[in-house]
């Protein structure tokens, strides 16, 4: 198998390269970093629901909607990306997401350990150090390949991540606080950032141990041509704004098991928002945008009924709507 150790490249090319290789059914490991910042959305996300366009425009933040799964992430040159492209029918390439992530994230865990960080895999697809996420990942089928796309955070601008998202000010602030608690970076763990070349060499070494010897590849004309073709497609409004399924409320994932979920509920005379903080897949806290909209007894009842429940956004909405309706009657 080939590896493509590309260093810092144009931000959009960091996405186009693995899409192109997968479309061409060329297996490989791609390591790179973008030369400027951008947000990357999962296939099923709609930028109109996810992104603060004005903030992104004012801060030169590009936008890309990828073919694979996961949520919206802010990416920049302070991250090292690893993309693994494998044919679907290759032995050992599991179709079960957890098996796929567990197996192909192992080399990344080992590279981080060798750098002096006690990284561990957390299902479904996080790598954590002392329960703080250092690497977020997503995957999916592109053409006849299965692709793992992930990154190691060397340093991370939590505030910019929150500001790039479309959500209310208080929710952004809450998101920043949760990221402080639940995310970490190489700089925060080691006190310095090792050279990217060293990190990439380790990744190549560890992936070779799993997948067999790798040789260095270069991006040839056919791949460039495919990237050019895909660029047109992925830059088009038709692709970017292809209407996905409208989501109920606003969910922001911080790390595996930790989410913020916001929903505006209809009340007599308008609507009011409630934010649910979820930890280890359970509702941990409820915050009301305008507490005065609910009688203290009702707020207390809601907290009693909802806190501790397993996170299921639909069920939460149903419970709150029923309680509001009952209270109004």
């Amino acid at each position: 198998m080939k590896y493509y150790n590309l260093g810092e490249i144009n931000w959009k090319q960091t996405q186009l390269i693995y899409h192109a290789l997968a479309q061409l059914e060329m297996e490989g490991l791609v390591l790179d970093s973008p030369d400027s910042r951008y947000v990357s959305l999962g296939l099923h996300q709609d930028p109109r629901d996810e992104i603060d366009f004005e903030y992104c425009k004012d801060n030169d933040i590009g936008i890309f909607r990828r073919e694979i799964g996961g949520g919206t992430v802010l990416l920049d040159s302070r991250q090292v990306f690893f993309n693994l492209i494998l044919k679907r029918n290759r032995d050992g390439v599991s179709r079960v997401p957890e098996n796929f992530f567990r197996k192909f994230l192992r080399p990344v865990t080992r590279a981080l350990k060798e750098l002096g960080m006690d990284a561990e895999y957390r299902p479904i697809c996080d790598l954590v150090i002392n329960e703080k996420k250092i690497s977020g990942n997503g995957g999916g089928e592109i053409g006849y390949c299965r692709v793992l796309a992930g990154g190691i955070m060397l340093d991370f601008d939590r505030e910019m991540m929150a500001r790039a998202l479309k959500c209310s000010g208080p929710l952004k602030q809450m998101y920043i606080e949760h990221m402080k608690i639940n995310l970490t970076t190489v700089r925060e763990e080691l006190g310095y950032i090792p050279p990217k070349e060293k990190i990439c060499s380790l990744l190549i070494e560890k992936f070779s141990e799993l997948l067999g010897p790798m040789t260095e590849g270069t991006i040839d004309a056919a791949v460039f041509e495919k990237m050019k073709e895909l660029d047109q497609h992925y830059s088009s409004d038709r692709w970017m704004y292809q209407r996905g399924v409208k989501q109920l409320g606003r969910e922001i994932k911080v790390k595996e098991g930790v989410y913020l979920f916001y929903h505006a509920f209809a009340i007599p005379g308008g609507e009011t928002g409630i934010t649910f903080e979820i930890s280890e897949e359970r509702i941990e806290k409820i915050s009301f945008d305008e507490p005065h909209n609910f009688h203290p007894i009702l707020r207390n009842e809601m907290e009693k009924k909802i806190i501790g429940l397993n996170y299921d956004s639909r069920k939460i909405i149903d419970i709150v709507c029923t309680m509001i309706e009952k209270n109004n009657n």
């Binding site: 296939l43 697809c125 399924v245 639909r314």
Partner: protein, 145 residues
């Protein structure tokens, strides 16, 4: 109803197996309703998104996608034809498929020609063949772990 390793496979329908598709087809009048089988649901985990993007479909081609556990998989058509209905209920809430895969059809196709005539090697309705196929699929998953 056939039960294999705790997964149910009703015998009132046909199973499409190409490229690990795990799709069921059920003839209802002149339409074929299509959904995901228990194996797919069991191993994919909770479905978070489901889309059907095409209206004309060709056998073996991707016609949409679904996501579970931050992994996007493609939905492949088992027939040539035209999609005449999409089940909005499961598009809006794909978890319904996890809860009841055989009641949660995804789309209905008006096929260009007879599909369920038993000629395709990728369509199974025979109990023995289904048992063999699912057993092999389980073995494959276990080997990949």
């Amino acid at each position: 109803m056939l039960e294999i390793n705790g997964m149910n496979f009703p015998l009132d329908r046909v199973y499409y197996t190409r490229d690990g598709a795990h799709i069921w087809l059920k003839q209802e009048d002149d339409l074929i309703k299509i959904g995901m089988d228990a194996f797919l649901v069991e191993y994919a985990g909770y479905l978070t998104f489901l889309t059907v993007n095409e209206s004309r479909v060709k056998v073996g081609e991707s016609i949409g996608s679904f996501e579970s556990a931050k992994f996007v998989s493609r939905l492949y058509s088992p027939a040539d034809g035209e999609i005449v209905a999409v089940n909005d209920e499961v598009i809006k809430n794909p978890r319904k498929i996890n809860e009841a895969p055989y009641e949660s059809w995804i789309f209905a196709v008006k096929a260009d020609s007879a599909v369920l005539d038993g000629e395709s090697e990728y369509l199974l309705d025979d109990e023995e063949k289904i048992v063999k196929w699912i057993s092999e699929e389980i073995k494959k998953v276990e080997e990949d772990e």
